[in-house]
């Protein structure tokens, strides 16, 4: 490991690292700042959408037609996914790749920033498209059809740099699990994205796909989680946990098994969303089976992280990065259990088409992925800006409001989804309209709104804090901002 032994750091090493940080400074900060802005926007839209589900009169004015639930909800999810999650993931990937491969980004910072501008233009066009009536109704691909080539091009421009860094990496860098995961994500995402868009947005107009198209759409969502968010998130976990605890990854064998079982299983999931539907039965069956088997890589990775952290759990209290990363990596385990619950016949038939699926998506995107990205941002940004986070209190409140928010959200969505689905499937309700499922879910939907308020509060401060840092207005100090009550130097290297 790069800094397994903190005593062995030579000034040569620190100079090299400082040079790497300098070289990626502008693109990474640009991506993070834009991502945080989209996160704030996505949170506001999520709040509005959540209220509309139990109070349809909310913001229901004739001139606010573009805020109907059918538009604001997809706009919210797309802003969360493309605006925040993928963008933050790319920013973290660039830094992780450069640091872990020990490569200075000699030229290409300009290309990355250009690509990032393209990406943000694409997301903006897409969001406006959804709100003002060119949404495609393909879940998570609601952006109008002219947006995807732009996003793809931007992604490829950045991914190409990452592959280049890996190819130039120095041989003595040791075990490269983080670059593996990042490379996997760079490789799979364009493939998934092109496949889904070509079939659903382009060819389907000439050669209709019918129900199969819906299946491909469901596959896209699940593979996006399993083969982009999971690898990038785990790549960050595999970097920061050993880095901060100062211990090597507990088991290289487990890490390798975890990686390849994810790679082998990730592409099969998705069709279980439409189980019992019009698609040939083997497709949802194989999707559900893969979703259940995905507990295997999740368990292996969780075990590995746990073994790495053993004895150093106390550092979760002090290090903001480790704290966020720990919660993220824990949520990955929970998310894979929920995916298995949704993917099998016995529990899945009650949760199908309910809020439970939404709960799973948010658990994966926010509970797991975003938390690991927050952890990464808290570590990376001070190294790029040369100043430290202003306030431990802001970080603490970001953490706690995020954790309570996402926990409330996921629990409400899972239990509320179950209540909704059970009500629809209850034999007593056969001759009633859907009133049962609406009344049963109402309490949980109000809980969802409260959760979004929490998350909005936490992300508002996160955004402000990050912008201060990006502007170079952080604390001038050699000691990092830790979460202890007093700023002590005991863990200054964390």
């Amino acid at each position: 490991m790069e800094t397994t032994n903190t005593n062995a750091i030579t000034s040569d090493d620190s100079n090299r690292r400082a040079a790497i940080d300098r070289s990626v400074r502008f693109p990474v900060l640009f991506l993070f700042a834009n991502a945080a802005m989209w996160l704030l926007g996505a949170t506001v839209m999520g709040l509005v959408a959540s209220v509309k589900l139990y109070a349809p009169e909310f913001l229901d004015r004739s001139y606010l037609w573009f805020l109907n639930y059918g538009r604001i909800q997809p706009a919210h999810m797309n802003a969360l996914i493309y605006g925040w999650a993928i963008q933050a993931g790319l920013g973290a990937s660039i830094w992780l790749m450069a640091r872990r491969c020990g490569v200075v980004l000699e030229k290409g910072a300009g290309t990355i920033v250009t690509a990032a501008v393209f990406w943000n233009v694409g997301v903006t066009l897409g969001e406006l498209g959804i709100l003002f009536g060119s949404g495609t109704a393909l879940q998570w691909l609601e952006f109008p059809a002219y947006v995807w080539p732009l996003l793809l091009l931007a992604f490829l421009m950045i991914a190409w740099r990452l592959v280049g860094m890996f190819a130039r990496s120095r041989n003595e860098q040791g075990f490269m699990i983080t670059p593996w995961y990042v490379l996997g994500a760079c490789f799979w995402f364009p493939w998934i994205y092109v496949t889904a868009n070509l079939f659903l947005n382009t060819w389907s107009l000439h050669a209709p796909l019918g129900a199969m198209g819906a299946g491909i759409n469901a596959w896209y969502m699940n593979t996006l989680i399993m083969l982009f968010f999971v690898p990038v998130g785990l790549g960050a976990c595999y970097y920061f946990i050993p880095k901060i605890t100062g211990k090597p990854i507990a088991s290289q064998q487990l890490a390798i098994i975890g990686f390849w079982s994810l790679a082998a299983l990730g592409g099969w999931t998705g069709f279980q969303k439409y189980m019992c539907g019009p698609l040939p039965a083997w497709m949802p069956a194989i999707g559900g089976a893969a979703a259940i088997l995905m507990m295997l890589p999740a368990g292996i990775v969780a075990l590995n992280h746990h073994l790495t952290t053993i004895g150093e759990h106390g550092m979760i209290q002090t290090s903001p990065t480790l704290r966020f990363t720990f919660v993220g990596s824990f949520c990955y385990l929970i998310a894979s259990l929920v995916a298995a619950l949704l993917g099998n016949f016995w529990t899945g038939s009650s949760m199908q088409f309910t809020h439970a699926e939404h709960g799973f998506h948010l658990l994966a995107i926010y509970g797991f992925f975003s938390m690991t990205m927050f952890g990464a941002i808290y570590y990376i940004v001070p190294r790029l800006t040369g100043c430290e986070w202003l306030s431990a209190r802001l970080i603490r409140s970001h953490f706690w409001f995020s954790v309570y928010g996402i926990a409330t959200l996921v629990v409400c969505m899972l239990v509320g989804g179950l209540a909704q689905g059970e009500s629809l499937n209850a034999p007593d309700n056969w001759n009633l309209p859907v009133i049962g499922s609406i009344i049963n879910a109402r309490g949980y939907l109000i809980g969802r709104t409260i959760a979004w308020v929490f998350i909005l509060w936490s992300n508002l401060w996160f955004f402000i804090h990050l912008i201060f840092m990006v502007l170079g207005l952080g604390r001038r100090s050699v000691a990092p901002t830790l979460l202890h009550r007093e700023h002590d130097d005991a863990h200054a290297t964390a």
Binding site: L53, Y54, P56, D60, S62, W65, N68, Y69, G70, G133, G135, T136, A137, L138, Q139, L183, G184, F187, W188, T195, F199, S204, L205, P208, L209, G210, A211, M212, G213, G215, I216, W219, L227, W260, A263, G267, W268, F271, Y274, C276, G277, P278, L279, I286, F345, S349, S350, Q352, F353, T354, E357, H358, Q420, N425, N429, W430, N431, P433, V434, I435
Partner: protein, 229 residues
């Protein structure tokens, strides 16, 4: 560099297999699905299955308004504990106690739809057979009832959480005796000076919803279905 190449091959094949087997081959086959003719001897009826398709122009409005966020179009079979087939009003038979369950949806039901809007969530009722739901006493499609549902969703059920699609309608002062297309809203006073006229998009959407009748008999199963009756 050989390990890098091996690594890339690993990435390629691990994902390439499900990509090919689960997506590409089934999608290419799905694109080639063709209607099936009924056998007069066996099924006792002429024509092809599925019959009339959907109104594509209205489906675009359906997509744009995000209806899929809350409405599915997929009847599940009852064996997994699902009640879809027995829900009142989700099939062709609108009476309180239909004799038979609505049959589950099949691939062919969505023939010629670029991507079938099977739905994201089911916060509202399923719409696979919604074309049967809005009929007047003579069994003719009741466009007005559907327009009223879209314009003022809570006029029928107070507890409904459906958003209003007022932006697909124009609201203006009556001229003369008023337009023949004006909505007959249940709680509007008859001497009101204003009227609500559906725009073309609203008409398309209603055409589409009325064309949703995904329960045509399946060739080879018609007699079996009839025998149950």
């Amino acid at each position: 560099m050989t390990s890098f190449r091996k690594f890339l091959l690993g990435l390629f094949f691990s994902f390439g297999l499900p990509w090919l087997v689960l997506i590409v081959i089934p999608a290419l086959r799905a694109q080639k699905i063709a209607p099936v003719a009924y056998d007069k001897e066996r099924d006792g009826m002429d024509g092809v299955y599925p019959g009339k398709g959907i109104n594509r122009q209205g489906q675009l409005v359906y997509a744009r308004e995000g209806c899929v966020q809350c409405h599915t179009q997929m009847i599940r079979p009852s064996f997994a504990g699902n009640l879809d087939g027995w829900k009142k009003g989700w099939g062709s038979d609108q009476c309180d106690a239909p004799r038979d369950a609505v049959r589950p949806s099949t691939m062919l039901d969505y023939l010629d739809e670029p991507v079938a809007p099977l739905g994201v969530q089911r916060n509202g009722p399923d719409l696979a057979n919604v074309g049967y739901r809005y009929t007047d006493k003579d069994g003719k499609p009741d466009r007005n009832a559907l327009h009223v549902q879209l314009y003022a969703p809570r006029s029928d059920h107070k507890w409904s959480i459906m958003p209003s699609f007022r932006h697909l309608y124009t609201y203006h002062k009556k001229e003369g005796k008023g337009s023949a297309y004006a909505l007959r809203l249940p709680n509007a006073s008859p001497d009101s000076n204003f009227e609500v006229i559906p725009q073309q998009e609203a008409e398309d959407l209603v055409d589409y919803l009325l064309s949703l009748k995904k329960d045509a008999p399946i060739p080879g199963q018609v007699v079996a279905e009839a025998a149950k009756k």
